[in-house]
């Protein structure tokens, strides 16, 4: 079980895994760290999105030597970081609307290129557009697809916590089946979110043939940093989707954000991989496979599955989903899948019909 994995802290090296050699360990704090999303913002305790954004944007700042701008969708990240007259961002940052971050990012990239060209400057600032899963997979999906299709020079980062947390935990198209949200409550014969709904945006992004697509997790910050850095080495449209647990929405302890995120990886619930030009090029292998119940039981949004009254059939379905992911993405073993993995919703729909 998870307790077997030990972390150690030495000075500022708080997130290094003891199996890594010292040069590969992360610094939690250092003089050279950009601290682009600086402390003092209003995120909840244990916020996965704040953690993910801090590491992702700092990595991008390093990769671009500070020549970076952000377009931010409406949502928790925007609200907790910029309540007027405060801002926690130490880089050029704009919030416009809920559904248009990708398009605003495209516009910023145009402006940066044009200004640099006019000034005879070859150092063109780079652009990240970012939002939560609601702003990305639902309301911002059209502009996102447009940005992909035009191959605009924007890295889009989706902080996926599987629901509209900012408005009070409502279901999005990234909400997993059977999960409790305010609009998929634990009532009726099939409590929680419906089966056979939702979409896999990383796979859809790959179908656009864009240079780089990756999923990542706040449970593996080194992998996240590597992926952001790699994304910034490409020009054109790029997409990274980071699993960021929300203690409030998921009903887990605020001290368990990383644990829950790790279990999402180790159960196959959330495949972590990267793809270049539409093909999967690497998969983060499961190091210590866990049954999905270990992931579910830490979260009250699944309380109806894990208690004494839990329906074993539903639990088996979620386990089947994880097993299918493991197979489809090759999460165990040495292989990288040669075919494009299939969205897990296909399995759900197949069963439902």
């Amino acid at each position: 079980m998870l307790d077997a994995i030990k972390f150690y802290q030495t000075g500022s090296k708080t997130v290094g895994n003891r199996l890594l050699n010292p040069s590969m360990r992360s610094n939690q704090a250092s003089e050279s760290r950009p601290n682009t999303l600086i402390s003092g913002h209003r995120a909840c305790q244990g916020c996965g999105e704040a953690l993910g954004a801090r590491y992702a944007i700092d990595a991008a700042m390093r990769a671009t030597n500070g020549q970076l701008m952000i377009a931010n969708a409406t949502g928790c990240l925007e609200v907790f970081s910029t309540p007027y007259p405060e801002s926690a961002w130490r880089l050029p940052w704009i919030h416009s609307l809920f559904g248009n971050a990708a398009a605003v990012g495209s516009g910023l990239a145009v402006a940066a290129r044009v200004r640099a060209k006019k000034a005879g400057n070859t150092n063109v600032p780079r652009v990240i557009a970012q939002g939560g899963d609601g702003g990305t997979t639902d309301i911002g999906f059209g502009p996102l697809s447009g940005m992909f299709e035009r191959n605009d020079d924007v890295l889009y980062i989706c902080y996926d916590n599987g629901a509209y947390m900012n408005t009070g935990v409502q279901r999005s198209s990234a909400t997993p089946p059977a999960a409790r949200t305010a609009t998929t409550q634990l009532v009726g014969s099939e409590p929680g979110a419906d089966w056979g709904k939702g979409k896999n945006v990383p796979l859809i992004a790959m179908a656009h043939g864009i240079p780089y697509v990756a999923t990542a997790s706040v449970a593996d910050l080194r992998d996240l940093e590597y992926k952001v850095q790699k994304a910034m080495s490409y020009h054109g449209a790029r997409y990274i989707q980071i699993l960021v647990p929300c203690p409030l929405g998921w009903g887990c302890a605020s001290s368990s954000t990383v644990t829950v995120a790790r279990l999402a990886m180790e159960t196959g619930f959330y495949p972590i991989f990267e793809a270049e030009y539409g093909k999967v090029t690497s998969v983060r292998k499961i190091t210590q496979k866990q049954p999905v119940i270990n992931f579910l039981k830490l979260q009250r949004r699944y309380a109806h599955l894990t208690g004494k009254k839990g329906d074993p059939k539903v639990l088996a379905r979620i386990q089947a989903m994880c097993d299918e992911n493991i197979k489809s993405f090759g999460l165990i073993g040495d292989e990288v899948p040669e075919t494009v993995p299939v969205a897990i919703q296909a399995l759900e729909r197949n069963q439902t019909v």
Partner: protein
């Protein structure tokens, strides 16, 4: 340079003269020819240091424009009708952020029923959006107003809609006098944004503002609008001196001296009305026209001055506010508050129904003969067509060939 060209091409040439850095396009009639031509100029290298972005919706057209403008380049886009409505969330956002985007609205009706023809219901639906709205009489006026619009927008710190009648202007071939690049370069220098997103000096734009400062920010936009009244006049004066073109301004008076009746009209119908007013003047009928150029900001003082001591004013409106009345008329009444000026309004030219000289003639005679009984009268209503529906559906009819006003309307719903 004189050219005999389509209005849309003229606008594209004007936009190119202003050297924008970003132009966004999504097709919607009747605006398409403008961005098609701008796109061509960019692709063939005639318009340099500019990127032309084909987006997937008007919502993204406005959003890319917001990003480009916030990124510090001069930004242009164009839309109409449904497209304008599709970008509304971005429209309000652009003005709230104070981004000096210039956008053509090739004015067109809004569905349902779908209708591609000209009226003013699209732009006027954005009355309260915080954009300046400048209406154009002719293609020359539209061409010149676009050039002035960039200067006005950048000085005021608000976006500008240049409203030109769809098809009637955009697709009409007329002689246009296009200023030279040297002239426009001297009039409109390279864009120097007051603030923009720059890694050298990072700022946060679009923060969340609560009750503690929201009202004050709204007041500041109103203050910009107030300032815009002066800026429009000053920029117009400068432009007229530079080019000799009589374009732009807050409003324009035609044969208003000693007029006993003044018509207030927006857009291309002014041209039609001018011809008819000339004929009426020849017959000794003292009628003049006030062409309202700036709808937002609304030039209350200037309009009051233009109406002067004239006792009869009739507005011609190409839009309507359901459940209320006209949209222009209440503004005119506000301008004339406390006077005994009689202000009526007429609704005509909806969804592309032509406004002929005879329409203007009918309005003038109806007014002078005291036939505009209510505040509002619908002109050129096809009462036969109306009755064909009303009779079957509800067993009521309106008198044929009537001027349809409130009393007629009320009679059909049983509140006479």
């Amino acid at each position: 340079m004189l050219k005999q060209i389509e209005g849309s091409l003229g606008i594209a040439e004007a936009v190119a003269l202003c050297r924008p850095g970003a132009v966004c396009a999504y097709p919607i009639s009747p605006q398409t020819h403008i961005v098609e031509n701008v796109g061509k100029f960019v692709k063939e290298g005639k318009l340099q240091d500019c990127e032309f972005v084909n987006v997937e919706s008007e919502f993204s057209a406005m959003s890319v424009s917001i990003g480009a403008s916030a990124g510090g380049v001069r930004t242009y886009t164009a839309t109409a009708s449904q497209g304008l409505l599709y970008m509304v969330e971005g429209i309000y956002n652009a003005s709230g952020l104070g981004l000096p985007i210039v956008m053509t609205v090739a004015s067109r009706a809004i569905g349902a029923p779908i209708n591609i023809w000209n009226d003013h219901s699209d732009s006027l639906s954005q009355r309260d959006s915080g954009w300046l709205q400048l209406f154009c009489e002719s293609n020359q006026d539209a061409l010149d107003t676009h050039i002035m619009a960039f200067k006005i927008a950048e000085e005021v710190g608000l976006p500008v809609m240049v409203c030109m009648d769809g098809f009637v202007l955009t697709h009409a071939f007329e002689r246009l006098d296009i200023p030279s690049q040297e002239q426009i370069d001297s009039f409109l220098p390279e864009y120097q944004p007051k603030e923009f997103l720059d890694p050298k000096e990072p700022i946060s734009m679009g923060a969340m503002v609560g009750p503690e400062a929201f009202t004050e920010l709204r007041f500041l936009i109103q203050r910009k609008m107030e300032k815009a009244l002066d800026v429009i006049e000053r920029v117009t004066k400068e432009y007229r001196e530079l080019t000799g073109h009589h374009s732009g301004g807050l409003l324009d008076c035609y044969r208003c001296e000693d007029a006993e009746l003044k018509l207030i009209i927006l857009g291309s119908s002014v041209g039609t009305a001018k011809d008819e007013v000339d004929r009426l003047r020849d017959q000794g009928i003292k009628v003049g026209i006030i062409s309202l150029k700036s709808y937002r900001p609304f030039p209350y003082a200037k309009l009051r001055e233009a109406i002067g001591d004239c006792k009869k004013v009739v507005c011609l409106e190409r839009s309507f506010s359901y459940g209320a009345r006209g949209i222009i008329c209440p503004e005119v009444k506000r301008a004339m508050e406390g006077t005994d000026c009689d202000i009526r309004t007429t609704v005509a030219g909806l969804g592309g129904r032509a406004i002929f000289g005879s329409t203007i003639n009918k309005i003038v005679h109806a007014s002078l003969e005291g036939k505009l009984k209510d505040e509002i009268t619908w002109i050129d209503m096809d009462t036969k067509l109306l009755n064909s529906y009303l009779k079957d559906a509800e067993g009521v009819t309106v008198p044929e060939d009537a001027l349809v006003d409130d009393s007629v309307l009320k009679a059909t719903v049983g509140h006479a």
